[in-house]
């Protein structure tokens, strides 16, 4: 057995175990059901409120498609314009390059503590452990991410990271870990005010602010950042140095394009017409001597780290369409699988339907091939996606790739080949059908097959099959068309 197959099997088994745990967790089930239903409802309402929602989605998709089709061009343009605006532009081919670049900036600037606004790409590259290893304290400032950080947990949703937490869990955490008193955790507003006070102190003394980038505008070198809490603004205003992490696909050509993308992002993510704070940053604070006038605040240095980490490889693959993704989380909220198992079970920074493509796309198939199996291919994700990514199609492609790479069990490959051989021979197929109907009677209980013997058992571990009908469709059809008076006219 090769090590790749071992890795695949290990990952698949771990995934199945985590799914079982999630399904058995009553509290998680309740939290997921109410949160995803609310997010889905507010998204629908937000799209219903615009005159031409489908046209808006078409526009957003066209922008993403056009950008990705000429990504090299727009990326180079962005980098040039950002540098012209006074940014330091860095290029990172891998996660290790990216963390190395940020760590070096921190060391060069003598940074001891950094504040961070929510950034999925920073989780993807494992930035916090790298900075902490270099002696830089990192504080997450999004309320949900702050909870995740002090509890040593992981986010379970890309927009609302603590879907799996309840208010009394947060109260207990603040009391035990941060020494909050009873009044400070009395209710959600009190806990929020407590976190604000704690984090305000961090913002005011941090030397570095780290953020992601929601969109980067090629023609102007502008980076766009969206938050509701305002932590994104403080992160990019209070500290002396701002480091922005940009996944290299998050480019839009122009400011006009940006506006369309922002509209679908806010509506899809949280059901808002626009997020509370949408910030457009073009270069750092203007210093004394600048012909446009000196500014009284803002970061002295703005570093943009352009991160590849598998994206250019994805660009040339059959999964490239996932690069259109704007990380709104809508596909998570509508997915019948995510709604049951939550974000942790996926074992990846990016959960849900989009995560099941992004993760193998960026990290390689071996450790995450099983994720694409966790889909009923119902298409709800494609219907919800604001840029109309064909997620079910991509999931099938990922499954196909997994099958091609021969990672899965041998008996599945053999079984599928046998089935294909049978299915292309009608007479044999009917015969086999008749035989399997006979056999099914032996294992079915109350019209359902809940357990199959031998290697087939793996299938029924997660599925119940309806028992086959006593008469095949073909036989029933023949009987029907033969009986007099019942033929269709």
């Amino acid at each position: 057995m090769s090590s790749e197959i071992a890795t695949y099997r290990h990952a698949a088994a771990a995934f199945h175990r985590k799914v079982e745990d999630a399904l058995a967790d009553r509290r998680l089930q309740d939290a997921l059901a109410s949160t995803t239903a609310r997010l889905t409802g507010s998204r629908s309402a937000a799209f219903a409120a615009v005159p031409h929602p489908e046209r808006l989605r078409d526009t957003a998709r066209a922008i993403r498609a056009r950008t990705i089709a000429r990504l090299d061009h727009y990326l180079a343009r962005f980098a040039d314009e950002a540098a012209n605006a006074g940014c330091h532009v860095h290029w990172a081919e891998t996660a290790a390059d990216a963390t190395g670049i940020v760590t070096r900036i921190a060391i060069d600037c003598g940074i001891r503590s950094a504040v961070k606004s929510k950034s999925m790409v920073s989780e993807e590259i494992g930035l916090n452990p790298a900075l902490e290893a270099a002696g830089v304290r990192v504080v997450e400032t999004d309320l949900g991410e702050y909870v995740v950080q002090i509890a040593d947990d992981r986010p379970s949703h890309i927009i609302t990271p603590i879907v799996h937490w309840r208010r009394d869990d947060v109260a207990r955490l603040f009391t035990r870990t941060l020494g909050a008193c009873k009044e400070e955790v009395a209710d959600v507003p009190a806990m929020t005010a407590f976190a604000r006070r704690r984090l305000r102190a961090e913002f005011l003394q941090a030397g570095m602010g780290i953020s992601g980038v929601n969109f980067a505008v090629a023609e102007t070198g502008t980076i766009c950042l969206v938050t509701n809490e305002g932590n994104g603004r403080l992160t990019t205003t209070a500290p002396r140095v701002h480091v922005a992490l940009l996944g290299l696909e998050r480019i839009v050509p122009s400011v006009a394009d940006l506006e369309s993308c922002l509209q679908v992002l806010a509506r899809s993510a949280t059901g808002q017409a626009l997020s509370v704070y949408t910030t457009l940053l073009t270069g750092p604070r203007r210093r004394p001597g600048d012909s446009r006038g000196a500014e009284s605040d803002g970061p002295d240095e703005l570093h943009v780290v352009i991160i590849d980490n598998g994206r250019t490889r994805l660009l040339g693959s059959d999964l490239a369409e996932i690069l259109y993704c704007i990380r709104c989380g809508a596909c998570l909220n509508v997915c019948p699988v995510y709604r049951r198992i939550g974000g942790h079970a996926y074992g990846s920074v990016y959960p849900g339907p989009m995560g099941s493509i992004v993760t193998p796309g960026l990290m390689g198939l071996v450790g995450s091939a099983e994720l694409a199996q966790a889909s009923s291919l119902c298409g709800a994700c494609r219907d919800a996606c604001p840029v109309r990514i064909d997620l079910p199609g991509l999931l099938l492609t990922a499954r196909h790739q997994a099958a091609q790479s021969r990672l899965g069990p041998r008996w599945v490959r053999v079984g599928v080949r046998v089935y294909a051989w049978l299915a292309t021979r009608p007479r044999l197929f009917r015969l086999a059908g008749r035989a399997s109907r006979r056999l099914a009677v032996l294992v079915a209980r109350d019209g359902w097959i809940r357990r199959l013997p031998g290697p087939l058992r793996a299938w029924t571990e997660a599925r119940d099959f309806p028992a086959p009908a006593a008469v095949s469709f073909l036989d029933a059809y023949r009987r029907r068309t033969r009986s007099p008076g019942r033929t269709s006219s």
Binding site: Y277, T282, R292
Partner: protein, 240 residues
């Protein structure tokens, strides 16, 4: 070969290989789909203006903010001073007088005993932290604004000389004074009205209501890191 060259070469190679473009899903480069057929100037007539004010007020109120209107600088001064009374606020940070479309406002506040804390954040870390800490207790931030969007209750602010970022961010209360002339129907009208939007400042922020979170059990809570209270004072004026 630099990292830039390698990444761009890899992107080019990926695009050249891209099987997905053969699926017919991806249109090639063409004219921007944004903005086609929507280059309309906001209408300036009084009825439209009144409707926009009404829309803006409704949208901002729904978000938990508050809109006020006045038809003269004197009216603005009355509104702003009464807001200072309401929040029992003495110290404030603000944009410079000529960046707020209400002549005499800062002088009036001074004569009411309100103290404007002027600041210029130093470039060294120690000095910087000290100045930021001194601004932390300030109760109100006062700004002008570049534009306002009626449909979403949004205001747009551009940073620059005399237009600090902290005034709309650090204090728990933010008051923005904006002319109704700057009020437009939708977000794309802002881009239309300001073709070189990002040239207006190194930091353009669109603010849509008070700071908020729903991270804990989807419970909406206002005033997390940004201002808890947002007041937009609109100066109505005759159409140009």
């Amino acid at each position: 070969m630099s990292a830039r060259d390698r990444v761009l070469a890899a992107a080019r190679e990926g695009l050249g290989r891209a099987a997905w473009s053969a699926h017919g899903r991806t249109p090639g480069p063409g004219p921007s789909p944004s903005g086609d057929g929507r280059r309309r100037r906001p209408s300036g007539d009084a009825d439209t203006r009144a409707l926009l004010v009404e829309q803006f007020t409704a949208a901002l109120t729904a978000l938990g903010g508050q809109a006020h209107t006045a038809d003269s600088p004197g009216g603005i001064i009355d509104i702003v001073t009464s807001l200072f009374d309401r929040y029992a606020c003495c110290d404030f940070i603000s944009w410079e007088a000529d960046e707020i479309p209400c002549p005499g406002l800062l002088d009036a506040l001074a004569s009411h005993g309100r103290r404007r804390v002027a600041y210029d954040v130093p470039f060294d870390q120690v000095g910087r932290a000290a100045v930021l800490a001194s601004l932390e207790p300030v109760g109100i931030g006062l700004t002008g604004g570049l534009a306002a969007v009626a449909s979403s209750g949004t205001i747009a602010l551009a940073s620059g000389k005399g237009r600090g970022r902290l005034a709309s961010l650090l204090p728990p209360v933010h008051i923005a004074v904006i002319r109704t002339r700057a009020l437009v129907a939708s977000l794309d009208d802002v881009v239309t009205a300001h073709p070189s939007l990002v040239a207006e400042g190194s930091n353009i922020v669109f603010i849509t209501g008070p700071s908020r979170t729903a991270d804990i059990e989807m419970t909406l809570t206002r005033g997390v890191h940004g201002p808890r209270h947002v007041h937009v004072v609109l100066l109505t004026e005759a159409a140009p």
